[in-house]
């Protein structure tokens, strides 16, 4: 793939993979000095939004040649997370109220945290040229927080840039979206992820191809999976469980729904990761059932997936996928986790146990 935007030359030192349009827009804003006061970084999870935000912060404060040079003190301090003018406002980040103790278990970004941002943006930068405040995920701001932010966006103070980062742009207020410059991040082609894994992370080709398939366009996910063996194990378990549940009775399904749902308040991310894997599982069945086996991501399981797919109708699989998506939405909307998962289980097609794969071949 040729780099279409390389002509401008400003983005040579950016290391965000595959987001040419986004990087080019940001780099030329820095080069021309026409930087907006607020940006909306919109795109799927794990596609480079955070890295781009940090590199934008570096570029805005860089004192070297070809910002972000990655060599000057400013670039180094941003990269190390120690720059006084770059702050990420997220769930659980501190506010100015002395009696508040925020933790990452909270559900949303609150007004007191936005008030802290309000104070910070009006202060001149401490060590750099520009204060950069990143709100992430911006869709987790509650109503009061979003409205408070609106006021800041209406009267943007000089020498500061706000970045709202989100993978669910539609949940933001229209009034917030219209006051920010939109930078779009897209899912990456499998080939680009595979190449990046090989070239930058020195992953051996077979594994790079596998991770690229599983990542579904999210390079960041592949990189995390690369370093977190536990995450891959968890995924394998979830896939095995998906297969088992497809063939199990309602009682077995409900038992699992209650054990998985019971742990939701303690570790909601785990539940989402399991549902991620299940979605990938049913997606593969759908691809096989509709004759696009070459697109399936779980190549190593094809032997087990084929006989399952042959028992399904496309309609049944789409129903399963829809029920998983619905369950995720209900979980986000505060439904009882066990109930939401049980309802989901009811909609999964009931398949015959997959004995073929287990039996020793003659």
């Amino acid at each position: 793939m040729t780099d279409a935007s390389a002509a401008t030359g400003h983005e040579a030192s950016w290391t965000v993979v595959g987001q040419h349009a986004a990087v080019s827009a940001l780099a030329s804003a820095v080069a021309s000095g026409r930087v907006a006061h607020a940006y909306l970084f919109a795109g799927p999870k794990h596609t480079g939004k955070t890295l781009a935000a940090l590199q934008f912060a570096q570029a805005l404060n860089c004192t070297g040649d070809g910002p972000p040079c990655q060599r000057c003190r400013q670039c180094e301090r941003v990269a190390a997370g120690g720059h006084a003018d770059v702050e990420v406002i997220t769930v659980g980040s501190p506010c100015d109220e002395s009696e508040h103790r925020h933790s990452a278990d909270e559900r949303d970004i609150r007004i007191c945290q936005i008030r802290r941002l309000d104070r910070l943006v009006t202060r001149a930068p401490f060590e750099g040229r520009c204060r950069v405040l990143i709100i992430e995920p911006a869709d987790l701001m509650n109503d009061a927080a979003a409205n408070a932010l609106l006021k800041t966006l209406e009267e943007p103070p000089p020498r500061s840039v706000l970045i709202l980062s989100t993978d669910r742009e539609e949940l933001l207020l229209d009034t917030l979206r219209s006051r920010t410059r939109r930078i779009t991040f897209t899912g990456l082609p499998q080939a680009a992820i595979e190449r990046a894994l090989r070239d930058r992370w020195d992953v051996e080709p077979g594994r790079a191809a596998e991770l690229a398939r599983l990542s579904m366009g999210r390079l960041g996910w592949a990189v995390v999976a690369l370093h977190d063996a536990r995450m891959m194990e968890e995924r394998e378990e979830a896939l095995a469980r998906a297969e088992e549940l497809a063939a199990s009775s309602l009682a077995g399904r409900f038992a699992f729904a209650s054990s998985l749902g019971g742990g939701f308040t303690k570790d909601r991310r785990h539940v989402h990761r399991v549902l991620d894997a299940w979605q990938a599982f049913w997606r593969d069945l759908l691809l096989i059932a509709s004759g696009r086996e070459d697109q399936a991501v779980h190549r190593d399981r094809l032997d087990r997936l084929r006989p399952l797919a042959s028992q399904c109708t496309v309609r049944g699989i789409v129903g399963a996928l829809r029920s998983i998506a619905d369950a995720r939405q209900q979980l986000d909307e505060n439904a009882s986790p066990v109930l939401a998962l049980e309802v989901m289980m009811l909609a999964l097609p009931e398949l015959r146990p997959n004995a073929v794969g287990d039996r020793p071949r003659p």
Binding site: R119, T122, A124
Partner: protein, 377 residues
């Protein structure tokens, strides 16, 4: 690093910079204090990224170096030591500071001085010298009028204008406005205006208490920081970005009624009325009128608590113009009267719904405007 200093010097220095140590921050290192050798002295520094305080203390320097250590822990430890010599040492490439004092020996784990946020250098925007007593008085007369909530960030600051040989401080919170002019020794080269956070000036005021030498105030060229250099102590404050409202239009040019009273009596009567006003939104009602045939005029300050009781106090007043009535929040009156250093004060009004103006009689460097409260008379 290897340095020796007196316990009392180190304790005093830590007490000074300790005011700037961050309480809550995303950067853990800002809850540390920086200890570094600097041109034959020991430099202590702390910052919460709003203000940065540096302090230099004398000591014997055996070996140069720098480190940051948890501020609370170090201060608590040093404060408890006997008044003897303290030796601080740090072996090369280690982050463990060893402190030896009398028969105590402690080790404190620190963080690299290189990671400490660099305290901004402020040196390129022109310097003013100000008498510390005058500066302290000026700050005390305006600082209470600054807004304490962040709904309009510029109002949480104090507007500083340098023009000619005058330095003007102004603070407003939407209900009141305080403006104080200060005469400078030397004329400034050009007009400059910045907004300094009120909290930073309150800290400065505390440091000015035992200061004799003139304070040097420096802005940097792009108006992002202000430096106040005292003897052995420096305070750098991040300026508030934005435009301070044009307050000159808010100060009434004329008045319909004017009462001159003793500040002390006025304050005392306001305090008394405020006791009754506590349950009634803090409303104190002031009426004044001139005397007949040469008898002095009177000012009455009254307050009432619904279904509990009321109070009315009276003081002598020199009244010009029409009899007048106006109601204020007692808290606001007390705030301003408490920072006027005795003498007599004039209260000017043009009507119960127009702002009241308070000016000390003996000098025209201070003016205070308070919005009235609307009441049924």
């Amino acid at each position: 690093m290897n340095v020796t200093c007196l316990q009392e010097n180190l304790a005093r220095g830590l007490g000074i910079v300790g005011r700037a140590v961050a309480v809550r921050s995303t950067l853990p290192i800002t809850s540390n204090v920086l200890i570094a050798t600097d041109h034959g002295r020991i430099k202590l520094a702390a910052t919460n990224l709003d203000i940065a305080l540096s302090c230099w203390i004398g000591g014997q320097i055996e070996e140069e170096g720098a480190i940051t250590v948890p501020a609370r822990l170090l201060a608590d430890f040093v404060n408890s030591l006997p008044t003897e010599k303290i030796q601080l040492s740090l072996s090369p490439r280690s982050r463990q500071v060893k402190l030896v004092c009398a028969r105590n020996e402690a080790t404190i784990g620190g963080l690299d001085a290189d990671d400490f946020p660099p305290i901004p250098a402020v040196d390129d925007g022109g310097t003013l010298e100000i008498d510390p007593k005058m500066l302290r008085e000026a700050i005390s007369q305006v600082v209470f009028s600054a807004a304490t909530d962040d709904s309009r960030p510029v109002l949480t600051g104090i507007d500083l204008v340098v023009e000619g040989d005058q330095l003007t401080f102004a603070a407003a919170d939407g209900f009141r406005l305080a403006v104080r002019h200060l005469q400078l020794q030397k004329k400034a080269a050009e007009r400059q205006e910045v907004i300094v956070p009120a909290k930073a000036l309150a800290e400065l005021s505390r440091l000015l208490q035992d200061q004799e030498d003139p304070v040097r105030m420096t802005f940097n060229a792009n108006k992002t920081q202000v430096l106040f250099a005292l003897k052995d102590v420096e305070l750098v404050a991040q300026l508030i970005q934005g435009t301070f409202p044009d307050y000159s239009r808010l100060i009434p040019k004329e008045w319909g009624s004017r009462a001159v009273v003793e500040v002390r009596d006025f304050l005392q009567e306001t305090k008394i009325a405020s006791i009754f006003a506590r349950d009634g939104s803090g409303i104190v009602r002031i009426t004044f009128q001139g005397g007949d045939d040469g008898t002095p005029g009177r000012m009455t300050i009254a307050a009432r608590a619904e279904e509990i009781g009321d109070n009315s106090g009276e003081l002598d007043a020199q009244v010009e113009g029409e009899p007048a009535k106006i109601a204020f929040n007692g808290r606001y009156l007390q705030d301003v009267l408490a920072v006027l250093d005795g003498g007599r004060v004039a209260l000017e009004t043009t009507g119960p719904s127009q702002p009241g103006v308070i000016r000390p009689l003996d000098n025209d460097t201070y003016v205070h405007v308070v919005m009235p409260m609307f009441v049924q008379w």
